[in-house]
Every structure is written in C-alpha cells, then in structure tokens.
C-alpha cells in the first residue's frame, strides 16, 4: 500500500498525516484525526452528511482523496465554534429547533456556513437550493431553513 505524507490545516491546527493513497478526506478526518463530527451517510457524494469546507468551499469529503489535501485548509463541524463560543448559525439552529437526530446536522451546518460566507443575505429559495445536497430525514427542513435566515439577519 503506498502512502503520502501530507500537511494541511484542519480547524486552524496544522496537521501532518500519513495517508494511504486510497484514503478519503472523510476517512482521514474520522480515523486519523479522530474528528468524528463529520458523518458518513452514503460514501458516494449523495447525502451531504460528510460536507466540510475545503479552502472555503463545501465539499463532500467522501469524494475527495486525502492525498489531494496537501496544503489545504479544512473546516469541519468541530471548527465552527470559536473559543467555546458557538457560531451564529449554531445558535440559530438550536433556537429554531432544526436539530432532531443530529446526523445530518454537521454537514448541514457546513453547507449553510459556506452559503452565508458567499451570500450573507440569501433569499429562502437560495437557502433551499444551497442545502439541496444535504439530506435530512427527520425535520422536513423547515426549521433548518429558518435557522439560516435567522443567522443571516442576526
């Protein structure tokens, strides 16, 4: 099995990791760095549970090889709160009740964070379109969309 040594920034921490060439970014985060907040729902880039920010863009981490991440900046759900203070979006989704089982929540929060970064004042339609790649089976999405609106306006 061939390995690469890569150096990348994960949630503002510089990490150097030996990764097998076939290892995905998702596997590296969960298995090498024990960042288990990022979830695996399908291993096929379809459900969005594994969404992380890679150089500020949301990606399905199950579809990115870890070896490609040398030099990249990665943000996972564990990196959204700063110094123990929740982000506006995290606070908003607690308040609106947009969390049920919580399994889609990490990916959902990352996609919505990316949306608010590129479009601080999205319309409801834009929010729904931005979250279309993040499947949720519990909430019906209403309160998640509410949370993104609220975070945008707070």
């Amino acid at each position: 099995m061939s390995y690469s040594k890569i150096t990348l920034t994960v949630n503002d921490v510089v990490e150097t990791v030996d990764v097998p060439h076939h290892m995905t970014l998702l596997q590296m985060l969960r298995e090498k760095l024990s960042l288990t907040g990022t979830k695996n729902g399908c291993s096929a880039g379809e459900c969005g549970a594994c969404t992380v920010l890679m150089n500020d863009e949301p990606v399905n981490s199950c579809m990115v090889l870890a070896a490609e991440c040398d030099g990249a900046r990665i943000v996972t759900v564990e990196g959204l709160a700063k110094s123990g203070k929740l982000s506006k979006l995290q606070e908003a989704i607690i308040k609106t009740g947009g969390v049920q089982c919580g399994f889609c929540t990490p990916g959902m929060l990352i996609s919505a964070t990316a949306l608010l970064k590129r479009n601080p004042n999205p319309t409801e339609k834009e929010i729904r379109e931005a979250l279309v790649g993040n499947l949720c089976r519990c909430t019906g999405y209403f309160r998640i969309v509410e949370a993104v609106k609220e975070a945008a306006h707070s």
């Binding site: 969960r30 024990s34 960042l35 288990t36 907040g37 990022t38 979830k39 695996n40 729902g41 399908c42 291993s43 096929a44 379809e46 459900c47 549970a49 996972t76 759900v77 564990e78 959204l80 709160a81 929740l86 995290q90 989704i93 607690i94 308040k95 009740g97 969390v99 049920q100 089982c101 919580g102 399994f103 889609c104 929540t105 990490p106 929060l109 409801e124 339609k125 929010i127 729904r128 379109e129 979250l131 279309v132 790649g133 993040n134 499947l135 949720c136 089976r137 519990c138 909430t139 019906g140 999405y141 209403f142 309160r143 998640i144 969309v145």
Partner: protein, 785 residues
C-alpha cells in the same frame, strides 16, 4: 430563590418549549453515534457474504479460501447459528442455512483487520446455489399456485395473537367480522369499489445501521448498536446464542434516525456471531447505503381492495377491506403490522358493518419491518381515497362527510372496543380552515390545474398487550436529578420530554435534570422498545412515577424533621418549602446525607432514589375469527392532513401551495417538539407520496442509491405548513399526553391523492405520484392532449 409564602409554581416546564437537552453536542460534532466510538487497534471489521438469488437452495459453502487470507480472523456461516429468531414469529436465522429467501440475505460473514480484507475474504467464500422459482407478488403468493417459501412454518414458534397457515405462504390472517356487510350493501345508496397498491419503501435514516460486538473471556457479550431496541435485542440475541440475558449487554448511543428500521433485531446479530469466534476483539459492522436499502428492514408493500358504501344521508354503513401485505422473506415483525392493519382497518370512521381480511404473505422480497406508521399509511392510502370518492358520488362536501362519519367518544370501534375521548372534529376543522378547503381557487397560471385534498387517520401503539416501561430518578449532592430510562433518543426529543416530566413532577428546574445516557441494558431500567409512538405516554408515566416516588421520599423526611405533614410541603425550584411554617431548605442539604434528628440523636433519610414502572394491564386478545374483543389497544391518536396543490399540465409536476396537519396529542409536553415531529413526518409522508419506491424486478432492487431512490430535499419542502394541534387528554397519559411520532406521515399519501383527484379528476392506483404517472394519467383521461 423560592418564596415559601408563595403558592405559585415557578417550575412549570410541562407544556413549554424548552431547548432540547441533546442539542449542544449535536451542533458541535461532539454527539457520539455508534461509528464514532473509539475501540483502538484490536478493532476488527466485518463484512457479509450475501445471496445473489431471491430464492435458492444452498447446496454447499466452502470458506477455506477466505479463512486462509492473511488478516482474516473469523468466518462464520449459518451452520454455527441454527437457532430461529423473531419478535412475533420465529421464522429467521442470523444467516441463511439451507435456503436463501431474498436477494441480499446474509449467508456468511467475515471479521478481518481491515474492511478491505474482510470484503476480499467475502469474495473468496464459495457458495453453490440451486435457484428456485420465486414469489414476487403477495396476492399470487397467497394462492395455492405459489411455491412455498417456508415449508417449516408449522414448526415455528409464535405469539398467541398471530395465526400462520402452515403449508402456505400466509404467515398471518387477521379477520374482522363486525355486523353484516352483505346486508349493509343492500341499504347503501352509494358504493365505491377500488384497488390500491402501495410499493415497498425504505426508511432511509441518514445514519445506516451499525453495531460493534465483543465477547470477553468469560463469555459475556457487549454490543454497541444504533438501536431503537436495546432490550429487545438483548432478549433476541441471548435466546439465539443460548447465553444468559445477564451476560449480554447492549449499549445504545445516539441514533441517527430510525423510523422503525432500527427496532427489533436485524444486522446487529452478525457482529455478535463473529465476536463469539474472536474473544476479546471488538467486531464492527456498518452497513453500506446499498445494503441499507434492501438487506435490512423495508416497509412492506400492500395491495388493498376496498369496498365502501353509504346511505342517501351520507352515513357510511359498510366497509370491506381485503389486504395482501408483501411481507418479504421473513415476517417475524411484519405479522404484527398486518395485525395492526387489521384491527385498525376501519380508519377513524364509525362504521357498523366491517369485513376485513388482512393477510401477511411471504414473498422473495426484502424483509418488511416496522416503519413509522406501522401499516397505517398503507391502509389509509386505500380507505381514505375510496371514502373521498364515496363523498363525491353521494354528493357531499368532503369535510362535511368526514365530520359526519368520524369516530367519536362512546362509539364502538371496529374491534368492539369503546372509543375514548377524541379531538378528531377539531383536527378536521383546523385543517379545513388552514387550507381554506371549501374555497375553490384558481391556479396561478393557465398551464396549471389546482386542487385540494384532505384525509383523516388514526393509529394506536402496536405492541404486545403488556409492553412495559421503567425508570428511576436519583439525586446527587448538588440537589440535581438524574433520570435513568431505557427508551432511546432517536431524534424525536424523548430525552428532553422525560427531563421535563421529571422536573415538573419533582419540583426542580428543567436545567437541573440529566438523562443517564447512553442507554445501557446493564444499568438502565427496562424499556420494551422505542417504537409505536409510545414513549411519551408509557415511559413518561414511568418517569413521572419515579419522580413522584423520589418526591415522596424527600417530603417524608423533611416532614418528620420539621414535625409537619407532607401535605403542607412542596418542592419548588429545587427547594423544599413549607406553606405552613414557611421554613425552606435546598434539596442539596438532604438528598444524599439525609437530615439530623433533633438534639443530634442520629439521622433520618438517606440517598434518594425513586423508581417507577408502567405497563398497561387492560389490553385483551381478539377473537381469531371475528377480530372482536373488549379492548384491542391502549388508545388511538387521531389526526387530519390537507394539501392545496397545483399540477403542471405539461409535465404532471406537483407544486404544493400550502398544507396543514393537525393531530390530537392529548397534551403537548413540549409544543415545539410536537410541531417539529409533525413537520418532519409530513415531509417524510410527502416524500413517500411523490418520490419513493423500492423498484423490484424479479426480487432485485434496481434503484439502491440516492441517485435512483430520491427522498425529499430542502427544495421540495418549499411551502407553508400549518401544524395547529389539539389537546383532548388521554385518561392514562402523563398530563393527558399521547404519542404523535408516527402519525404525521400516515394520511399524507391519501391527502395528496385526493388533491390530485380534485385537480385532475385522475385517481392513480398507487404512489409514488410522480410527475410522469400524473401526466400519463391525465393523458389517458383526456385531461391533457
């Protein structure tokens, strides 16, 4: 601080929308699900060898090549685990033994040092099959022509309310014979007869099934599982492996969505089987998304023939229901779904004459299991669309027709039980008002058609008559409370609701109540299963009793110490107060160390632990030939849903303009959580109505991925949903509460079908009501050219 002079309770938490107590960890990524638990370097990975045939005899299995592959630690097959298991009917084994009955059935499994090696080893297991003719239709399967899938059905153990027919594929036949339907037809001015087909669908929890198992040197087994049923799993695994229940421990971390799929025992048995061969090694098995789609539980399919009639005044006089449930290769759980479909087969209507045959049929399809609604969504898809047409032919407004025929308190329901107080009339009114049902509205464009649909529902907790709950409440040195319970947090918010119930009962702040989690059968009190929308009611009663017990212990000690009677004392915000002497003392002062007796003559009290248990004792069995009995169920939750939709004439695509859902929850312990359940359930129901179908061709699922099996996304829920609830109290529910977890997806297919019919005049035989099927329906009917 509490004011002893005030009788005003400042601790009221029941009925308020407190923030969930599991949410901080869920938004920060700290929440632990089964695949997140760290097991270190000894962890082994499991994969399964699965049947490539829907029906075949196993002629030979050779595992020798797989065993020789470096890194492989164990290979197991069915010969090591011949014991039959099942919740209601013991008709399956952990691995297929002599024959396979569905495509994807586990035949063998491997534990290895990596997932890749386990996968490779699986490909080296050689299995010789002799394919058999398959059964791919329930109605055909029930006929004498069909090959028999379980020739040993007569030898299987089953509970006393399931009635298999050995020598056939019928594993349960539930009958209702109430009144005389044949005589009723003669009294009817209008009769509608329809057939509907509801396809198999999948639960699609975003977290697939997963379990880790380890056996220690003494033979004690620990299982960590994404589970709605840690105690039922303990029971079933212990029996299957012939080990003591006490030597089997199931730990159930947070669950990433269940919807029934993680109830009972399915894939969890596979890592346990492997673990018995590699003592001291944890063995992890996580299903792939493809495996999740068809190798575990699915919602069984239904073909329902409905005949319903009313007199000239619109009173429904008779209903005949013949239901063939496509139960799949095992119906260990599905038999009880067909029973529930039978004993609830009238829906929430007062109908004097009912004939029902609810027939559970083995097929060579994926195994049907519990799915949110437990048969009710499928049943209501049939009866509520037939009744919608009956209202039309009888010349009645739909809302008036539903209200006229809806069940009310004191009516004798379909099984002979007397109906309890119910808010169904208010539910119908709420929905009719929210979507302005009686107002005929124009479509937003000439290229569209507009229609409105409404449907009502009921559902009882479907469970054994004596399914129990238990709980404890203990206090710590800081005066805060911890609740022990065995029901699972699967997203519905039950840990929050139980903390509210304990806080309110005990007299402490909601923030000062912890839930002892994760649920662990070694320490947690017994709970039957987290299913049937029963926890708020059943476990809620147990938690309330446990908190009452703790409260009594506390007040008895303080009363003795202060020389007062407990009746003059109260606990307010964690402070024991006397309304008589106006003394007060914080709980922290006494709940562990007790209180000193006067003049230092010793101590009284001690660590406070309250216990509570609850089990309904009044449910009776039903007559096998008539389905009649004193009380079939604990209660029914009722509700109504409606939709206002537009349909594109050129494509058949549906646009939901607005929708409403109203359920009688008895008492909303947490209103925001009730509304969240209703919203999520409605969208899941709508998703099943518009998109979802396990497409089966000769037993093969042809769409086992999110690309081909589409579920609703954020873009599909782009409409206003009104969720006003009704509170007619349940006599034995905590504060009158009854469950509402499953109900919101029950009437959605029927309500949408009725809206499509209103818009287009086209009645489709079954969901999913895809744009294509609606367009073709309109084309055939000449609505579009």
């Amino acid at each position: 601080m509490a004011n002893a002079k005030s009788t005003e309770k400042t601790t009221a938490v029941v009925g308020t929308s407190v923030i969930r107590n599991d949410v901080l960890e869920k938004v920060t990524g700290a929440a632990t699900y089964v695949d997140d638990i760290q097991f270190g370097n000894k962890l082994l990975y499991a994969r399964a060898v699965r049947s490539p045939h829907p029906h075949a005899l196993i002629k030979h299995i050779d595992t020798s090549k797989a065993e020789k592959l470096p890194g492989v630690k164990a290979v197991v097959t069915g010969k090591d685990f011949p014991e039959r298991i099942g919740l209601y009917l013991k008709d399956k084994t952990i691995f297929a033994t002599d024959r396979v009955r569905f495509l994807g059935e586990p035949v063998a499994a491997v534990a290895a040092v990596s997932e890749e090696i386990a996968e490779k080893a699986c490909s080296l297991v050689e299995v010789k099959y002799e394919p058999l003719e398959g059964v791919f239709d329930a109605e055909y399967g029930a006929s004498e022509k069909a090959p028999v899938i379980h020739p040993d059905l007569g030898k299987y153990d089953c509970v006393n309310f399931i009635f298999p027919k050995p020598g056939t594929n019928i594993s349960n036949h539930f009958k209702i014979r109430k009144g005389d339907v044949e005589a009723a037809w003669k009294q009817c001015a209008h009769i509608v007869e329809k057939t509907f087909k509801v396809p198999h669908i999948q639960h699609v929890p975003i977290e697939t099934h997963g379990a880790v198992a380890m056996m220690d040197e003494k033979g004690k087994v620990t299982v960590w599982a994404a589970s709605q049923s840690p105690f039922a799993q303990r029971n079933l695994i212990a029996k299957a492996l012939h080990i003591s229940h006490s030597d089997l421990r199931v730990i159930a971390p947070l669950v990433g969505g269940g919807f029934g799929s993680k109830a009972g025992l399915t894939m969890e048995a596979i890592p346990v089987a492997l673990a018995t061969k590699v003592k001291g090694y944890p063995v992890k098995f996580i299903l792939t998304r493809e495996e999740e789609f068809y190798t575990n539980f699915v919602r069984q399919g239904l073909t329902i023939h409905v005949k319903v009639g009313c007199d000239k005044d619109g009173n429904i006089l008779g209903l005949k229901n013949v239901m063939y449930w496509d139960g799949g290769a095992s119906t260990e759980y599905g038999t009880n779904i067909t029973r529930a479909g039978g004993y609830s087969s009238s829906g929430p209507y007062d109908i004097p004459n009912v004939w029902t045959d609810s027939i559970c049929v083995y097929t060579n399809h994926p195994i049907g299991g519990a799915y949110r609604g437990f048969g009710m969504s499928e049943l209501h898809t049939g009866i509520d669309q037939a009744i919608d047409e009956l209202a039309e032919v009888a010349g009645f407004d739909r809302v008036e027709f539903l209200k006229k025929n809806a069940i009310s308190e004191g009516d004798i329901v379909v099984t002979g039980m007397t109906m309890h107080a119910t808010g169904i009339q208010q539910c119908i009114d709420n929905v009719a008002k929210a979507i302005e049902f009686s107002k005929k509205e124009e479509p937003s464009s000439p290229d569209r058609l507009r229609g409105k649909g409404i449907a009502i529902m009921w559902k009882a907790p479907a469970m054994p008559p004596n399914a129990g709950s238990s709980a404890w409440v203990e206090l710590s040195e800081d005066g805060k409370a911890t609740v022990g319970l065995g029901g699972q947090e699967i997203g519905q918010g039950t840990f929050t609701v139980m903390a509210q119930i304990a806080a309110e009962t005990l007299g402490v702040k909601y923030e000062d109540v912890r839930i002892a989690g994760p649920v662990d059968t070694q320490y947690s009190p017994y709970e039957w299963q987290t299913v049937a929308s029963r926890l708020t009611w059943s476990m809620g009663n147990a938690v309330r009793l446990a908190a009452l017990d703790a409260r009594k212990q506390i007040l008895d000690v303080v009363a003795e110490a202060w020389n007062e009677t407990p009746e003059d004392l109260d606990i307010v915000n964690g402070m024991v107060v006397s309304y008589k002497s106006e003394q007060e003392t914080p709980l922290a002062n006494l709940v562990i160390y007790g209180l000193p007796k006067p003049n230092d003559e010793g101590w009284m009290g001690g660590p406070i632990v309250g216990r509570g248990s609850f089990m309904p004792k009044y449910v009776t069995n039903l007559d096998a030939e008539t389905g009649q009995g004193a009380r079939a169920v604990v209660h029914y939750t009722v509700g109504c849903e409606g939709l206002d939709i537009e349909i594109e004439k050129n494509t058949g695509r549906i646009h939901v303009i607005k929708a409403a859902a109203s359920f009688d929850v008895g008492k909303a312990i947490n209103p925001a959580l009730v509304k969240a359940q209703v919203e999520g359930g409605f969208v899941q129901g709508l998703s099943s109505a518009m998109f979802e179908e396990i497409r089966l061709r000769n037993g093969i699922m042809t769409n086992p991925s999110f690309v081909d099996y589409r579920i609703a996304t954020a873009a599909d829920a782009d409409f206003k949903l009104d969720t006003q609830y009704v509170e007619v109290p349940q006599d034995d529910g905590p504060w009158g509460a009854r469950g509402v977890g499953e109900h919101p997806m029950v009437p959605t297919i029927a309500a949408l079908g009725n809206a499509i019919y209103d818009a287009t005049g086209v009645r489709l035989q079954g969901p999913p009501y895809s744009a294509e099927s609606i367009y073709l329906g309109m084309l055939n009917a000449g609505v579009v050219k």
